[in-house]
Symmetry: C2
Subunit: 164 residues, 2 copies
C-alpha cells in the first residue's frame, strides 16, 4: 500500500438507548473519488460488505427517487439481498437513502453519508437511524461494527488501487 | 358527524433524548379507506396539514422508489413544500417513506405508517425517526404535536364524509 497510510482511523459510535449507529473515517483520496465509490455500480462490488462474500449490484440509480439493490452470495450458495431508495444524491457532499435487509422486510433504516474534504483527503461520516431502538440493537448484535469496519477497510484499499 | 365518534383518541409520543416521534389513533373506517386517504393524490389535499393552509399534491407515486411532493400556501402567499421517496407501499398494511421540508434541505426523517384492522375500525400508527435528536427536538418545537393532531382530526372528518 505504498503512498497510503493504512492506519485504522475508523470511529464507530452507538450510544445506548438510541436509534442511531455512526461511523467516521478519513480516506486518502479526494471526495469526488470517495463519493464515486458509493454511487458507481462497478465500484461497489469491489469493497461493499465482507471479503468472504461475492457482491453484485442489481440496481443502483443514484438520484432522488432512484432505487438500489445489492445481492451477496457466500461459498455455500446462500443469498443475502439488501435494497433501498435514494432520497438525496448531492455530489460530492451528501447521500441520503433508505436501507433494508430483505430477510427482515419492513425493518428499514435511514442512512446519511457526509463527505468532507480535508485537503486531498476525505472524511466520510455515515449515520444510520433505525425505526426502533430494538432494531438498532439487533443490528449491533448481528456484527454491525466489525462488518462496517471491514467494508471501509476494503474501501480504503479500493481507493488506493484506483488512485494509482 | 352523525354516525361517527369524534372523541379524540390520538396518542402522541416523543421520549426525551431519542430520535423518534409517534402518533396513534383509531379511525372509524376500514383500513383500505384509511390507507387510500394517504396514497390517493385527490384525497391528501382534503386533510393533510393545517386547516389554515391550501394544500396541493405535486407528485405522489405510491410505490417502491416513487417520489412524493406536497406544496402548501397560506393567505399571504407563502409557500411550504415537502418531499420524499416511498421505500415501501404495502396496501393496506404499511407505508415507509422519507420526509423532508424543503426549507431545511438535508434534514430528512424516515416515516412508518402501520394500519391495523380493529373490526370495522382502523388503528393508524405513525412513527418518524430523525437523523439526530436535535432535528427531532426542532420538529417538536415547531409545533409537531398540534400540527399532526390537527391533520388527523381532519383525516377523521374526511373519512366520515367519504364513508357516507
Amino acid at each position: 500500500m505504498e503512498g497510503t497510510n493504512m492506519i485504522a482511523r475508523t470511529t464507530f459510535s452507538a450510544e445506548p438507548g438510541t436509534h442511531e449507529v455512526s461511523l467516521s473515517r478519513i480516506f486518502d483520496a479526494p471526495r469526488e473519488l470517495v463519493f464515486g465509490a458509493l454511487t458507481d455500480a462497478e465500484a461497489v462490488p469491489q469493497w461493499w460488505g465482507p471479503r468472504a462474500l461475492i457482491t453484485a449490484v442489481d440496481r443502483l440509480e443514484a438520484k432522488h427517487a432512484g432505487g438500489w439493490r445489492i445481492v451477496q452470495h457466500d461459498a455455500e450458495g446462500n443469498e443475502y439481498a439488501f435494497r433501498g431508495v435514494f432520497h438525496e444524491v448531492s455530489a460530492p457532499e451528501r447521500i441520503i437513502r433508505t436501507f433494508e435487509w430483505e430477510g427482515m422486510p419492513g425493518h428499514v433504516a435511514l442512512e446519511t453519508f457526509a463527505f468532507e474534504a480535508i485537503g486531498e483527503q476525505t472524511r466520510l461520516t455515515w449515520s444510520s437511524v433505525f425505526q426502533t431502538v430494538q432494531d438498532r440493537d439487533g443490528y449491533l448484535m448481528a456484527g454491525a461494527e466489525s462488518g462496517a469496519t471491514e467494508s471501509w477497510e476494503r474501501l480504503a484499499e479500493h481507493l488506493a488501487s484506483t488512485g494509482r
